[in-house]
């Protein structure tokens, strides 16, 4: 049997969710969904787990805090303590209040950029990458469900398109791959 990929095109995010729910309730695995903006509530339907980018950001942030404190301690307390206006830099804990602003800024710097870079790599969106959406209309006004037959051995392509036609689908495209 030839492997087929089915694209069900919808015109509205709610209609797309109806379609996805229908497929999933019949035990069909939805490969992916493409849309011009986030479709809220689609993730639990097609089984997408929550992203861990928030945790990544926290880890980068805490690394930034530690690096900033360590660096400042080395520069201004250990290696070259300065005495400015009769206020010598002698101990980290005495000077700490004055070190908070830079520590905070560096924490934010690391958290934001660390997360942003992770995000770009995980999404495979980097400068010069080719577009990989199945249909150029998905960045304009169409919402697409992608189903692959080789992931759904219990169902034929006809069965899947039949189910989709019971939902307010705009068009269905099939492709061999």
């Amino acid at each position: 049997m030839a492997k087929k990929v089915i694209y069900a095109v919808y015109e509205d995010p709610e209609e797309l969710k109806t379609g996805a729910r229908k497929l999933v309730s019949h035990g069909i695995k939805v490969k992916d969904v493409f849309s011009p903006f986030p479709v809220h509530g689609i993730d639990p339907i097609i089984g997408i787990t929550r992203t861990r980018l928030g945790i990544v950001s926290f880890m980068f942030g805490i690394t930034g805090t530690c690096l900033a404190l360590l660096g400042i301690w080395y520069f201004n307390i250990f290696d070259w303590p300065m005495n400015i206006g009769g206020k010598p830099s002698q101990a980290m804990y005495k000077n700490l209040p004055a070190f908070i602003p830079v520590t905070f800024e560096f924490t934010v710097l690391c958290a934001a950029h660390g997360m942003a870079i992770t995000y770009l790599i995980r999404n495979k969106t980097l400068p010069g990458m080719p577009a990989r959406n199945p249909d150029p209309r998905t960045t304009d006004d169409k919402f697409i469900i992608e189903v692959r037959t080789d992931e759904n051995h219990g169902h034929t392509a006809e069965e899947i398109t039949g189910l989709l036609r019971e939902t307010p689908v705009f068009e269905i495209n099939e492709r061999q791959y």
Partner: protein, 462 residues
């Protein structure tokens, strides 16, 4: 689906489809620019060229060509720096703080406001750079290993905090803005037909697919970046105010500065957003997206922050008397009645009195009046920084050193020049970038769009 109360004014007027939104925003990018754009571009770039010339002259001759003297050793340069940073704050407030508060009206204006932030911060960063005199040594502000001992930068100094604050703020704003732009660049990429444009937007869009997981990550990144950009934006102008507040100069040495500077920054930033958007919505026919209601919301922010600034001015005056410190009292009496009285009263009129007119709903929703007021507030906020900086310095503890500050043509040229560079960058943005956050505006269409709201109301009455 989530629906919205019918008494809320719609945020997108007329009957629009998703495709209409794409059309309305992308068509101006595909077509030839209107003549007005070329006219504005020529004017802006000529001013920018003049300003660049002044900056090069300044760098080659040294900062002696400015009007600074040994008493007033900070004047227009730092005034302009604080003014530009302040303008930048509105963009982050709109995109980050309003995102956390789930304010949907931000979606039509956040893209252009953030662009404004980035360009304003670039202009701001120019001033400390050129004020160093020997700009080729500007890397000395970084803690780099060196042959002097090694002598490190002083992390106790607010001036160094500023280096970290401004550079973090600039780079984080840029990333936040660009991450939001990627899906919209993909929309342009999938639509344009000219090969050169297709190639360019294909590179800019980083191969965005718009699959479900990518959008989940997108929303998480937006939320977390908004969450960390919010304390960041407040910290930036607080740190700017520390440049003054941690000194012992009467008029600067006040604990009220951080909140007072932050609200002043938001106040001036929203005024600049109004100036830019009122022109842009007209020229690019965005009246259906940037509605009168959007303008009114921004005017409400202006009146709130303007009133906070007014309270701060009056608190400062009161405390200078109540403290019993005669130097402090004199600094404020001198501001109001000394040789710079005109600057002080311009500031008071522009920032405290005139925004109160926005209490009238008619005026809040009047475009010509709003535009006029936005210019007034921009002028007023420039004078605020001038008053704080110059009137505090020109007469301090030592009367024999009292003097006046007179700007030279280089002072004026550099300042006007940065306005030119700013507008050049903004015009390029308006021409080649999606000026509305397409993906965000589309996501609220069926909830806050005018015709959809009417349909929903009809269903309820059946």
């Amino acid at each position: 689906m989530h629906s919205e109360a019918s008494i809320r004014e719609p945020l997108i007027l007329g009957h629009k489809t998703y495709h209409d939104i794409t059309n309305d925003i992308v068509t101006p990018i595909e077509n030839k620019a209107p003549r007005g754009w070329y006219v504005l571009m020529v004017i802006a770039s000529l001013i920018a060229a003049y300003g660049t010339g002044c900056i090069l002259y300044l760098i080659s001759k040294g900062i002696g060509v400015w009007g600074l003297n040994k008493t007033v050793d900070w004047a227009w340069d730092i005034t302009n720096f604080v003014w530009w940073v302040g303008i930048g704050h509105a963009g982050t407030l709109i995109s980050a703080v309003l995102l956390l508060f789930r304010q949907k009206w931000r979606m039509a204006i956040n893209r252009s406001a953030e662009a404004m932030t980035i360009f304003a911060v670039i202009m701001a960063a120019t001033f400390p750079g050129i004020h160093m005199g020997r700009i080729w040594m500007s890397y000395w502000v970084l803690p780099l290993p060196n042959q002097f001992g090694s002598l490190w930068v002083n992390f106790n100094s607010p001036l160094l905090w500023d280096v970290f604050a401004i550079s973090t703020y600039f780079s984080v704003s840029l990333v936040f803005w660009y991450i939001g732009l990627i899906p919209d660049f993909a929309t342009i990429r999938d639509r344009v037909t000219k090969p050169a444009m297709k190639k360019a937007y294909s590179i800019l869009s980083f191969g965005w697919t718009g699959n479900a997981k990518a959008w989940t990550r997108f929303e998480e990144v937006s939320l977390v970046l908004a969450g960390i950009a919010t304390p960041l934006v407040f910290s930036v102008h607080s740190v700017v105010s520390f440049d003054f507040a941690t000194s012992i100069v009467p008029g600067w040495h006040t604990t009220i500065f951080p909140p007072y500077f932050v609200s002043g920054a938001v106040f001036s930033g929203f005024a600049m957003v109004q100036t830019l958007l009122l022109v842009m919505r007209k020229v690019m026919h965005l009246e259906n997206y940037i509605t009168i209601k959007h303008i009114e919301y921004m005017n409400i922010v202006i009146i709130v922050t303007g009133s906070i600034v007014g309270v701060a001015y009056i608190t400062e005056l009161f405390i200078s008397w109540y403290s019993g410190v005669e130097y402090e009292s004199y600094a404020f009496i001198n501001r109001a009645t000394g040789p710079y009285w005109w600057a002080y009263w311009s500031m008071m009129t522009c920032n405290v009195i005139s925004p109160q007119l926005f209490w009238f709903r008619k005026l809040r929703r009047n475009l010509a009046f709003t535009f006029f007021m936005s210019i007034i507030v921009n002028i007023g906020m420039w004078f605020e920084r001038f008053v704080i900086i110059v009137t505090s310095l020109h007469r301090d503890y030592l009367p024999s050193a009292w003097t006046m500050f007179h700007p030279t043509w280089v002072d004026v040229g550099v300042f006007i020049g940065t306005i030119g560079i700013f507008f050049t960058l903004y015009l390029l943005f308006a021409r080649y970038f999606p000026v509305l956050a397409l993906n965000e505006v589309k996501s609220i269409l069926k909830v806050s769009g005018e015709s959809y709201k009417k349909d929903a109301a009809k269903h309820q009455h059946h």
